[in-house]
């Protein structure tokens, strides 16, 4: 089976900076794949190499089995939703959406029909005559999506497309994007620095750090079994146990992970540790306690509706043995 996109030992260097440092990645047909990482981790550069806007200094980029490493963007069967949407300001919405058809010489009537259908698909009918500047951020986002989909790409690249939207709209668009991807059954490659977005939308997530792919897996694997310390810390809240703490609580592993929500408060009997509440933060659904132990601090998430201990209170901490995840490698 050919992969929708495959990166083979891809490097991208700008002078002395290795933006992408030997990435090996295969993305299946119809997959919703997310590249997750902090800014400067190389995730956008990876996307740009798939789109053809950056060329690798070494390695190969294969799209649908074809080697398109050095092909220009207009010769690739992929389309992109840009972070700033990149709508053409001198064209109205219909002309923007139909641009990909126009450059291919599709007749005007056919263009108008397909642009209207695309705007329908992104649930934005009837705005074809407006200028992009007359639309809200969420509407522009949908126009950018319609414009990228009109050429019926096999792979859609999305470069932090939801970054500029407010939280409510972002959550709504996440659900819509996911539904759209299922309906069109095409491959989505999504770049974000937002771990919630990555976990909630993706079939698989690749976590990037300093130009390297640290781990590729399902959202659940990434969250529950992070391969490296970086992944553990970047995805979700994490208590990292090292040195003495790791020896005491994690059978002598060099480093181990204990998620705050896996720790419970309980009685003295069977408690694994005890400490003093130093601080607490209210998050609505839960309260995060900072508990001081002899040699370390632990974040502990407790339900907000129960009895939440005051700062200064003595608490007993419980967790199941499998809540501790050993982290090998130094990430």
């Amino acid at each position: 089976m050919t992969h929708a996109v495959a990166l083979e030992r891809v490097y991208c260097e700008y002078g002395a900076v290795k933006a992408v440092d030997g990435v090996e990645l295969a993305i299946a047909e119809g997959e919703f794949f997310t590249l997750l990482g902090p800014s400067g981790s190389g995730k956008t550069t990876c996307l740009r190499m798939i789109g053809g806007f950056a060329l690798p200094t070494a390695g190969r980029v294969l799209i649908e089995g074809r080697d398109l490493t050095d092909a220009p963007p207009y010769a690739r069967p992929v389309n992109t939703v840009f972070q700033d949407y990149a709508l053409f300001p001198h064209m109205n919405v219909r002309e923007n959406v139909a641009y990909g058809l126009m450059v291919r010489g599709v007749p005007r009537a056919e263009r108008a029909r397909r642009a209207a259908a695309m705007l329908e698909l992104v649930r934005l009918p009837g705005v074809g005559g407006r200028r992009p500047s007359e639309l809200s951020g969420g509407q522009r986002q949908r126009v950018a999506l319609a414009r990228a989909l009109i050429n019926e790409p096999r792979v859609l690249l999305l470069d932090e497309p939801l970054g500029a939207l407010d939280l409510k709209l972002r959550e709504q668009m996440q659900a819509e994007l996911k539904a759209l991807q299922r309906r069109l059954a095409i491959t989505f490659i999504f770049v974000t620095h937002d771990q919630h977005e990555a976990l909630s939308m993706s079939d698989r997530v690749g976590v990037m750090n300093r130009g390297r792919l640290e781990q590729v897996g399902t959202p659940r694997e990434i969250y529950e079994s992070p391969a490296t310390r970086f992944v553990a810390e970047f995805v979700g809240a994490a208590n990292l146990l090292e040195g003495d703490a790791a020896r005491r609580y994690a059978d002598g592993a060099a480093c181990a992970l204990l998620r705050p929500e896996r720790i419970r408060l309980g009685s003295e009997a069977g408690a694994r540790a005890s400490g003093t509440v130093a601080d607490r933060q209210y998050f609505g659904a839960f309260v995060r306690l900072r508990v001081e132990l002899q040699s370390l601090q632990l974040a502990v998430d407790v339900p907000a509706d129960g009895v939440v201990p005051e700062p200064g209170a003595r608490v007993q901490l419980h967790w199941n043995a499998e809540a501790i995840r050993r982290l090998d490698g130094n990430g």
Binding site: F82, A86, V103
Partner: protein
Amino acid sequence: MTALAAAALPPVKPHPVSDFFYRRRALLVLLLLVPPLLWVGVVYVGSLLALLANSFFGLDHFSGQVVREFTLKNFAELGTGANLDVVARTVGMALAVTLACIALALPVAYYMARYASGATRAALYIAIMLPLWSSYLVRLYAWKLLLAKEGAISWVLAKLHLSWVLEALLATPVIGGHSLSFSPLGTFIVFVYLWLPFMILPIQAALERVPASLIEASSDLGARPAGTFWRVVFPLAVPGIAAGAIFTFSLTLGDYIVPGVIGDSSMFIGQVVSLQQGTAGNIPFAAALSLVPIVVIALFLWGAKRLGAFDAL
């Protein structure tokens, strides 16, 4: 906390003038606008109106005195063959210079806006602005030497065995002449040289505001570089091109020195105006002729607006 308290800043003291104007914004705006409005209104618009009025006066050819009586004789005289030739020659030159400046400025401006960074861009800015630091007359006479029959350009062409190209060009009717410095082609070259910076800078400013992602998006959607240029880059550069064209067009239309120094001694509007109001002392006719560039530029702006040149502003 204590450190912050200790370092507390003294309170900002009230200031009577600032406070007064803070509460009366309209008065401040008025005070700021009155001097420039007076200047533009009285000195500029006033002299334009004086020009307009003069163009309807006559001249007593016997005494050389301006006769302050309404007449359309000056405008009738504008319609005569020789004067129409002057107008056509000047407007044609202004159009040709403007088109050449657009063609030359676009690549430079595009390079500056999209690719040049840091030192390269600074060097290009200096290279474009530097000629403006020296006198226009000095540059004009320098070009006279370059374009002369025994000048640098014909020397270089002779060394390259390309003299025949120059001879063919000079033998061409309308643009040709005795030598580059005595031909309309020479006038054209010097005009393009003089006004090119005024075309590059506005186009560069317009292209600077075009995000790189628009060009990437066009390419992503299947457009080849030429398609991207004509469908995305050029339309977004049009406001800058229009601004630059206003400069190059009106500067060429009003110039009366360049065609006097370089060219085949056929007259441009500016030269005729200069002769009429100076040597001939026919101020009313000079005024009528001066209205021609104003009308032509008004038509030019109207046409540019009709073509949508200012839509993106």
